[in-house]
């Protein structure tokens, strides 16, 4: 079997182990026998532990895996269609746009919107708006400028939406502000089964879409003109990918708050393992993204137990070294 076939299988096994660890480990004290019994829904299992494992930890772990996989997928798509190895939903302002829209919705819109489908949809619209603004700032006469200009435009738009979020929090009702602040820190705590439909649906939809477009995405790596010469409808492909990325970023923010760097770093890790062809890159990035976020979320729960660290904080600490390596590689290659 080739390396390209073995590695995704291996990472998938690691993901399943990490997800099981995410379900088994936490602040609640319990024996291993009880934990396994609770997971198997055995009669002898303590009822409270069953509730913790099935109603608290399991939806949380699945949500984090879907968000991690989705953000990594978004990173792959952005880096390919923008020809920019630094592209990522966080650096390009999508996450900030989504969070400003979501915070605005939590503070100003009727509570039933926040508790139903409202937040993911509003966060998606915020991500679309931020992405459109970043692209508008990065283009001259319909041509996207250099990768670094695009990133700078993303940082500018990101700062603008962060200021808007701060303004919303400053003028908002103190009780609602407290809830929005906790959510903004980036945490999957409190995620329940009903919260999984949005990230699950978005992830499945974009995964299928990306895999069916894998050949066209490969052609885009050769440049827009070469892709056109190969018969790829580049404009249409780009719009579809932009919508997919905004959907994933919006839903990710609505589910766990702002989580940076997964979309930037994981696709590069996956490329090192299986190369740049999207048929292999897309599934591996999705699995690897899920693995990274599940592990970080688990560490967030156990490093300072019984206190819980925000997801974004620990992720940024782990992301810094690979980020520096990527920057150095990018400087060499472009």
């Amino acid at each position: 079997m080739s390396r390209r076939a073995i590695i995704p299988g291996l990472v998938l096994v690691l993901l399943l182990i990490a997800m099981l660890a995410g379900v088994f480990f936490g602040t609640a004290e319990a024996t291993w026998a009880d934990r396994i019994a609770a997971l198997m829904r055995a009669e002898a299992a303590p009822r409270s532990l069953g509730l913790i494992l099935w109603e608290w930890r399991m939806p949380r772990v699945i949500a984090v895996a879907l968000v991690g996989g989705g953000l990594a997928l978004a990173g792959v798509l952005m880096q390919t269609v923008l020809h920019n190895p630094l592209a990522d939903p966080y650096l390009m302002g999508l996450s900030s746009g989504a969070s400003a829209a979501a915070v605005g919705a939590i503070l100003w819109l009727p509570p039933w919107i926040a508790t139903t489908f409202g937040i993911p949809v509003i966060a998606f619209l915020g991500a679309v708006l931020a992405f459109a603004m970043t692209l508008a700032l990065s283009m001259r006469r319909g041509v996207i400028l250099s990768p670094l200009v695009v990133i700078l435009a993303g940082v500018a738009i990101s700062l603008m939406f962060q200021s808007l979020t701060a303004f919303f929090l400053y003028v908002g009702d103190p009780y609602a502000t407290q809830s929005a602040l906790g959510w903004l820190m980036g945490t999957a705590a409190g995620t329940g089964w009903p919260d999984l439909w949005a990230p699950g649906l978005a992830f499945a939809l974009v995964l299928v879409l990306s895999l069916t477009s894998a050949r066209n995405l490969d052609a885009l790596l050769l440049g827009d003109e070469r892709a056109m010469a190969l018969g790829v409808a580049v404009g249409r492909q780009r719009i579809v990918c932009f919508c997919a990325v905004a959907l994933l970023a919006g839903v990710a923010v609505a589910t766990v708050g702002i989580v940076g760097f997964v979309g930037l770093i994981v696709p590069h890790m996956a490329r090192l393992l299986v190369g740049g062809r999207h048929g292999g890159l897309i599934p591996l990035s999705a699995i690897l993204g899920a693995l990274v976020l599940v592990v970080v979320d688990l560490l967030c729960r156990i490093v300072l137990a019984p206190e819980e660290m925000p997801l974004g904080v620990l992720l940024a600490i782990f992301a810094a070294p690979p980020f520096i390596v990527i920057l150095r590689r990018v400087r060499v290659a472009f």
């Binding site: 920019n84 050949r215 070469r226 490329r271």
Partner: protein, 249 residues
């Protein structure tokens, strides 16, 4: 008896940045013919090729390849019929030289072994067999150009659209790769800055100036002192198959 035209360009008009870049250009290239587009910078050569491989929006005109309007080709048939050598960079993130060649074969109905055999042959022709697994983002400009030409050779299209095929290539590979394309007797429309190379390979050439065809015919008939002076503002002419250049005017 002349063959049917494989490439038909009728009254093409293209505007770029508000200025006309191609203004009423027409050309027919017969099947199996090697046709050169020559002219100074800004004459519209690349714009004609970009229009043909569907990367350039045109203002007016009709473009047909193998008898079919270029926008009527479905993606699968197009990739097997038309091969374009493009002067534009991609990121090649994570791709090996072999990957680049294989991506160019998308849509071709080939079995795995056939595909691999074609890629190996193209790698050998382009002198890249030992670079097959090298990262495409890290090879030299000449090796990159050879990779893209190898991609076309592996694909084996009926019509080659080549924008500056000799760019970045050393003398040896210019001859090896253009000889190979010529040997295939496919239809070729290629732009050249090197007029000696154009005279060596082209059955016919078109000299372009200000987006129009200034002269079309056999290289010896077109690359005359008067035409070279008028189009390139250079005192030069074709002599025994090689360009002799005296001075800029």
């Amino acid at each position: 008896m002349p063959s049917d035209p494989a490439i038909e360009i009728t009254d093409l008009h293209v505007t770029l940045g508000g200025a006309p870049r191609v203004a009423g250009f027409s050309l027919n290239v017969a099947e199996g013919q090697f046709h050169g587009l020559l002219g100074p910078n800004g004459a519209g050569k690349t714009t004609v090729l970009r229009s043909l491989y569907r990367a350039q929006r045109i203002d007016a005109g009709e473009l047909r390849i193998a008898g079919r309007a270029i926008h009527d080709w479905p993606q699968s048939d197009w990739a097997g019929t038309v091969g374009a050598l493009v002067q534009e960079g991609g990121t090649f993130q994570g791709l090996s030289v072999r990957d680049v060649i294989e991506i160019g074969m998308m849509g071709l109905p080939l079995s795995g072994p056939e595909r691999a055999a074609r890629i190996d042959a193209a790698l050998a022709q382009a002198g890249l067999s030992d670079r097959s697994d090298t990262e495409a983002a890290r090879i030299s400009g000449g090796e990159r150009q050879r990779t893209h030409i190898a991609q076309l050779l592996a694909r084996g299209p009926q019509v080659f659209l080549l924008d500056e095929p000799s760019n970045h290539l050393d003398l040896c590979y210019q001859l090896i790769l253009l000889d190979e394309i010529k040997r295939r007797r496919a239809t070729v429309l290629a732009t050249f800055h090197d007029l000696t190379l154009a005279a060596r390979y082209c059955d016919l050439v078109t000299l372009m100036k200000d987006g129009r065809a200034h002269a079309t015919g056999r290289p010896a008939d077109v690359l005359t002192r008067d035409n070279i002076r008028s189009v390139f503002r250079v005192d030069g002419w074709l002599e025994n198959g090689a360009m002799r250049i005296e001075a800029a005017i």
